[in-house]
């Protein structure tokens, strides 16, 4: 313990990763130093950009302190895209290492490789997938149900702040010290203090804990919003499918995040205070961890996949020019999946000592989930059947999802059989399987959502050419990267290996590395698409708000929507409320009268809590106790201070609402309604000619 312990805790000069690159230069250390440098340069570039453009004030005033669900949603997606870039880069490095590490140590140290697969998994689940879907839900769901905001707007901002603090903590781990090497599941006893001393596991614990608390709050918020804030006439069975999947996801969030929070807290007690929950001695039992973790972990899979199912249920009917086929069965299938997701957690550790009978029960339960999922796949196919299909980027991702997801589902049913699982567990077969579920079942869904709702959020479409380039790179890249892993898994290649001794693996590993590079191209194309679209936004703009001839309420306003979403809360008379209104000719009519609109006021609470949470997490990781105390006390001081603020709302006067609304209605009247044939061209200004 150094003299400076009470100020810096365990943090020392040689905690900086650059130190190792100087001290013992090797490719592995230099890659780590390069990554740290990128984080630092990225941060400096951001500071420079904000300063030069004078964006600090707008950033604080219009974004960070905003309780507007639309802005919070966009910020979530930004966090997700940044983290996606890092995690894809890590995946490429790992694939390259494995491809050159046949009878050769390759260029990464074993420890560095361990950190890479741990951060890759942790980021992809907690800091890419979760923020992405939470962002899309935030943006879309309140507008779909005809609400002005979520039920608890400031709490919504707090959720974002907590998740972001966790993401920042993971980024900081690139610069200070090491991340853990126990994978995204961080199983003890390996991650206990005896086998993993140091800060790595602590980074994981606190980053994940912050994210899971934020997600629990989001779940509560979404569920209450859907139950309490629906527009008049929007009964449960009239809700758009995306809102249904959001409801199921929200319920899963409320129930499933708690076991994770409890498990990480217990692991922390073991590590910090010498408790014996999961240790190998004094009655500790790591099986408790496995059960708690997967009690979260399996519902988590459906937290990830259900919102994407919702996205496909919106995208496919719109681009098929048809109504959604089998609405009721889709609702029931979604609910069935949500319930069944709590009955299968044991299949994640078939090989860890239960009786064969118990394994069999969970194997059957697991296969059962295939049934409602199959119902959904047929519903989506029948929605497309005899439709006028338009293969936009969003639709292409949806169709590719259908094909690819079925393949992944079938390998899932194979793994659900415990006898098969005994032969294939912990091999690359499993890695191929879950990437085969989550890339189409989450990422393709989120990319499709981005393509679909981007014009709603920003008032202009995304460039289709780069979108399609991205699509082909992602799709082909996925197959090239992961099909070889199925074969490798069956040949006995274990996951998380940083070095191989079987020359027969080589061709497969090289092909898989090529696939990873293609996926990287897909990601780059996605960013290029954003860049190109912003540059050409004048030719892509859709101010009238309905570029796709869409079905649900969120399209019944200008693009981008006003802060208050709807000038008057719409009345709903059936499913596909906006489509109905367009057919009745009531979609673009002025209301009888306008009223003042009450909106939540901006609040500095959320960003302050985010800073406090980051201090708390970083301090705990490095045992900097004054920082822990400051973070903890700061968070609660902010919460208590906030409870004394009485001016928590602001009013938009009726005449402002009227002026804005009439300007939009005027715009729609003056915008020629276009046929779907010119959907991709600059004539499409967001006024659709009805086709159904």
């Amino acid at each position: 313990m150094s003299d400076w312990y009470w100020i810096f805790g365990n943090l020392k000069w040689n905690s900086l990763v650059f130190f190792h690159a100087f001290e013992s230069p090797s490719a592995s250390e230099e890659i780590a130093a390069g990554a740290a440098l990128m984080v630092i340069l990225g941060g400096l570039w951001l500071v420079w950009l904000l300063t030069v453009k004078g964006w600090w004030r707008p950033l604080w005033r219009d974004w960070l302190t905003s309780p507007d669900h639309k802005k919070i949603g966009i910020m979530y997606v930004v966090v997700a895209l940044v983290m996606l870039a890092r995690a894809v880069a890590e995946a490429v490095v790992m694939r390259l290492q494995q491809a050159v590490a046949v009878n050769d140590p390759g260029f990464l140290s074993a420890d560095h490789f361990g950190q890479l697969f741990s951060t890759h998994g942790t980021i992809m689940i907690f800091f890419m997938a979760m923020p992405f879907l939470t962002g899309v839900i935030n943006y879309v769901m309140p507008q779909q149900i005809g609400a002005r905001d979520v039920s608890f707007p400031v709490m919504n901002a707090v959720s974002l702040a907590l998740t972001t603090a966790g993401a920042v903590l993971v980024m900081v781990s690139l610069v200070f010290g090491q991340f853990e090497t126990g994978g995204w599941t961080a199983y003890p006893p390996y991650t206990g203090i005896r086998f993993s001393p140091g800060e790595g596991v602590d980074y994981w614990i606190w980053a994940v804990s912050l994210s899971s608390i934020g997600t629990t709050l989001s779940g509560i918020n979404f569920a209450v919003t859907i139950y309490k804030e629906r527009a008049p006439g929007m009964t449960l069975m009239r809700m758009p499918l995306f809102t249904w999947t959001t409801l199921c996801t929200a319920i899963l969030m409320i129930f499933a995040m708690i076991p994770l929070t409890a498990a990480t807290a217990m692991l922390a007690l073991d590590r910090y205070a010498g408790f014996h929950f999961f240790t190998t001695d004094k009655g500790g039992d790591m099986m408790n961890y496995a059960n708690l973790f997967w009690l979260f972990g399996h519902p988590e899979v459906y937290i990830l996949i259900l919102p994407a199912f919702g996205v496909f249920s919106e995208v496919i009917p719109v681009f098929s020019g048809k109504r959604l086929y089998g609405y009721t069965s889709l609702v029931w299938a979604t609910m069935a999946i949500a319930v069944l997701s709590f009955t299968v957690w044991l299949h994640h550790f078939f090989t860890m000592g239960q009786s064969a009978n118990l394994n069999a029960v969970f194997g059957f339960a697991t296969m059962t989930i295939g049934v409602p999922t199959g119902v959904k796949v047929y519903d989506w196919m029948l929605t497309m059947y005899r439709g006028r299909l338009r293969f936009t980027t969003a639709m292409l991702f949806s169709v590719m999802f259908l094909v690819t997801f079925v393949v992944g589902g079938i390998t899932g049913v194979m793994l659900a059989n415990p006898t098969v699982d005994f032969a294939t567990h912990n091999t690359l077969f499993l890695v191929a399987h879950f990437h085969n579920m989550l890339i189409p079942g989450l990422l393709f869904g989120m990319i499709a959502a981005m393509q679909f709702w981007f014009p709603k959020a920003f008032g202009f479409r995304l460039d289709e050419r780069w979108g399609k380039i991205s699509f082909w790179c992602w799709s082909i890249g996925f197959y090239v990267a992961f099909m070889p892993l199925y074969a490798l898994g069956l040949m006995g290649a274990m996951r998380r290996s940083f070095e191989w001794y079987q020359p027969e693996f080589l061709p497969y590993l090289v092909v898989a590395a090529g696939g990873a590079l293609l996926i990287l191209c897909g990601l780059i194309a996605l960013f290029v698409q954003l860049w190109v679209s912003v540059k050409h936004r004048d030719q892509l703009r859709v101010p009238a708000g309905d570029p796709w001839d869409a079905h649900s309420l969120e399209w019944m306003s200008a693009a981008p929507a006003p802060e208050w979403n709807f000038a008057v809360i719409p009345e709903v008379h059936g499913r596909e409320a906006f489509l109905e209104a367009k057919r009745d000719g009531t979609a673009y009519l002025p209301p009888e009268r306008y009223e003042d609109i009450h909106l939540p006021a901006h609040s500095a609470m959320a960003p302050l809590i985010g800073v406090g949470a980051l201090a708390l997490g970083f301090g705990l990781t490095w045992h900097i106790w004054w920082m822990v105390a400051a973070g903890f006390i700061g968070i609660w001081a902010v919460v208590i201070a906030r409870s004394f603020v009485t001016d928590t709302g602001h009013v938009i006067p009726a005449d402002v609402v009227q002026r804005e609304h009439e300007r939009w209605l005027e715009l729609v009247r003056n915008t020629p309604a276009v046929d779907r044939g010119v959907e991709q061209q600059s004539e499409n200004l967001g006024h659709a000619e009805a086709v159904i």
């Binding site: 039920s151 409320i254 929070t261 073991d270 205070a273 408790f275 929950f277 004094k282 039992d285 408790n288």
Partner: protein
């Protein structure tokens, strides 16, 4: 009108004396029930962990039977049950608009009972951990015992902080709508902690001594 008399949400309502606050309470109280549900899940997870650890996690440290004394546990139980009754009185005073004085009086009594509960619990922990040599570091069973019971205790402590904040807010704002809604949520939180304690009393202590 029948719609006017239907309670919009479960639990105690304000509709008798303060119709507007009653309406404003709907999403807030519903949201808080959902939060309570997730908080109960935390206890469910801790109970499940305790159930597993108390049977096969004792190692060579003292077990429930050697450790637990029902005397102080009984006092703690009575204090907490009593505090639920007194908080009920505070809620009724608020419901029937009997003035801030009555509400504060019953809440102060509740807070004192809660503080008494915490005092006994801390002395129990001292007795177990220091005098009888059974700290949480001694075995998996003890780890799970302290985690479960202290999580409940920390909830009670944070409810007491919340209560103090409410006293300040009553002094500053009077019984405004916001303050009323917060006291209603604090009441729900307090009663939930009592329910959890009934579970701890039965499952941990009673089962423990008869084991």
């Amino acid at each position: 009108m029948s719609a006017q008399t239907d309670p919009l949400y479960p639990g105690m309502t304000l509709e008798a004396a303060d119709r507007d606050s009653h309406d404003a309470a709907e999403p807030v109280i519903f949201g808080f029930w959902i939060f309570l549900m997730s908080d109960l899940l935390l206890f469910a997870v801790l109970f499940a962990t305790y159930a597993a650890m108390s049977t096969h996690g004792q190692a060579d440290a003292p077990g429930p039977r050697e450790l637990f004394e029902l005397g102080s546990i009984f006092i703690e139980t009575m204090l907490l049950l009593g505090s639920t009754f007194t908080f009920g009185m505070a809620s009724l005073a608020m419901k029937y608009d009997q003035g801030a004085g009555a509400v504060v009086f019953w809440m102060v009594v509740t807070g004192l009972l809660g503080a008494g509960f915490l005092g006994f619990e801390i002395s129990d922990f001292y007795q177990f951990a220091v005098i009888e040599g059974a700290p949480p570091q001694a075995s998996g069973f003890l780890s799970s015992f302290y985690a479960l019971v202290a999580t409940h205790g920390l909830h009670v402590a944070s409810a007491l902080v919340w209560m103090v904040v409410m006293f300040v807010q009553i002094a500053v704002f009077g019984l405004s709508r916001e303050v009323k809604l917060r006291i209603m949520r604090l009441a729900l939180f307090w009663h939930m902690l009592d329910v959890v304690w009934v579970g701890i009393f039965t499952f941990v202590f009673l089962f423990g001594v008869v084991q």
